[in-house]
Amino acid sequence: MFKLKDVKYKDILDIKNLKISKNKITCIVGESGSGKTTLLSLLNKLISSDSGEIIYNDKPLMSIDSIELRREVVMLPQIPAIFEGSIKDNLLIGLKFSQKPFVSDDKLSKVLDAVKLDKDMNEAAEKLSVGEKQRLALGRIMLLEPEVYLLDEPSSSLDEETEEMIIKKLVEHTKVNNKSLIMVTHSKKIAENFADNIVEVREGKIFSGGGARDE
């Protein structure tokens, strides 16, 4: 699905070769500062590489409109963004931004369930705890039903039990709907339990995995 060749970004990333397969769970691991977030940001064109080529579904990323791409390949940032307004507003704003039709409150409740957020959706989102905000942001992008999820440490502020439950739901959801999931994680356990492929980033270079197993 994604193929990277000789991709360089400043002196942060230098990727000779990397393949990320479709319909798989790919975990990206590596030390803090190794370039994981930078790698994800390249995949949805939040930044552009200085040289090299990134291919998405056989098309060079350069030839795809950034906004179109980001509506298909949606990224969850490491620090969740909370917009003004209620929990409901925060769920719907993703649909608004990507110009998709709004959904019923019923559907919103289901998503809140999926991310284990047991709150009144008319409550102000700003009041939520850090972990709750993280789950809300996750729920927001689940509503968008993207082709590819780019998740930057989606569970860093959660306890192990909640983390496990939510990631499991997400992985199931991805598999059932034939989507793809690329997830940065610090947790060895998550990577080992759920990943089809593990990509390790070390000082901006790719060290293992690389999707060699499939495709």
Binding site: N44, K45, S48, S66, R70, F97, S98
Partner: protein, 266 residues
């Protein structure tokens, strides 16, 4: 209007006693501001005297080219002042947009005001053109300065929110809407607020001047109302032009937020 008090030189000189009082106060208190006070007093005096003579000449020798030249000087001065007032370094692109918005916004309002509302003739009559242009350009300058600062700061402060919106598939326009609206709002707010206090808290300079020179207060007030509306129109027009064009300079053609050009001035 035969009892207007014309100041003679001696009377005017006696007003400088105020400066002497201030100088005495700062001296006694040990605040070292004497130099600034003296320099600014001299500058104020010289600049006004010079302007007075220039205006006398311009009013006596009415010429469209001279009027246009003076307006051009005012615009250049105002635009440069906006560049200087912002603490962040501005990109070339945004500087051009500031200049274009100022020129288009103020000239459109100014011409409408002079030719449709007041209907001066000839159209370049400097007695009206110059002071009214001064007020319109000056107020628009203050407004746009605020707008620039708010827009640049907003893009920085809200970087995370804007980028998060982009990640959710928002077009740059939507991702930065809050920042843009906020910049517009805070830029026109002082103008709106000054309208509220008008006539009660203070008599505006133009009106005061007219009343002192013997015009009936009612006539002066009519002018003041018209000019306030003209200022409001010009301020809003220049700022909406600026923010609508300006936000685009923060994004590249790949719809990525770019802030590196806007570093702090040294």
């Amino acid at each position: 209007m035969n009892n207007i008090v014309n100041l003679n030189i001696l009377q005017l000189a006696s007003a400088y006693i105020f400066v002497l009082i201030v100088l005495l106060i700062v001296k006694v208190r040990g605040i070292s501001r004497e130099k600034e006070i003296i320099i600014s007093t001299i500058r104020m005096t010289l600049q006004l005297v010079l302007t007075g003579y220039i205006l006398v000449y311009v009013f006596d020798n009415i010429n469209p080219l001279v009027t246009i030249l003076i307006i051009a000087i005012m615009e250049i001065f105002a635009i440069n002042n906006i560049y200087k007032r912002t603490k962040k370094k501005l990109s070339q692109k945004i500087k051009k947009i500031i200049a274009a918005s100022m020129i288009l916004g103020t000239l459109a309002s100014l011409l409408y005001f002079l030719l449709v509302v007041i209907r001066i003739s000839p159209w370049y009559n400097p007695r009206y053109f110059i002071p009214i242009a001064g007020m319109i350009i000056g107020n628009s300058m203050t407004g746009i300065s605020l707008g620039v600062t708010r827009l640049v700061d907003g893009m920085y402060d809200q970087k995370h929110i804007i980028e998060s919106a982009l990640m959710l598939g928002a077009a740059p326009k939507m991702a930065s809407k809050k920042v843009v609206d906020n910049a517009f709002d805070s830029a026109i707010l002082p103008t709106i607020n000054s309208m509220v206090g008008m006539g009660i808290v203070f008599l505006p300079g133009m009106m005061t001047g007219q009343i002192l020179s013997g015009i009936s207060p009612i006539a002066a007030i009519e002018y003041q109302i018209a000019i306030m509306l003209g200022i409001l129109g010009s301020v809003s027009l220049t700022i909406i032009l600026f923010v609508q064009l300006g936000y685009k300079t923060f994004f590249n053609e790949e719809s990525q937020l770019i802030l590196k050009e806007y570093q702090l001035k040294r």
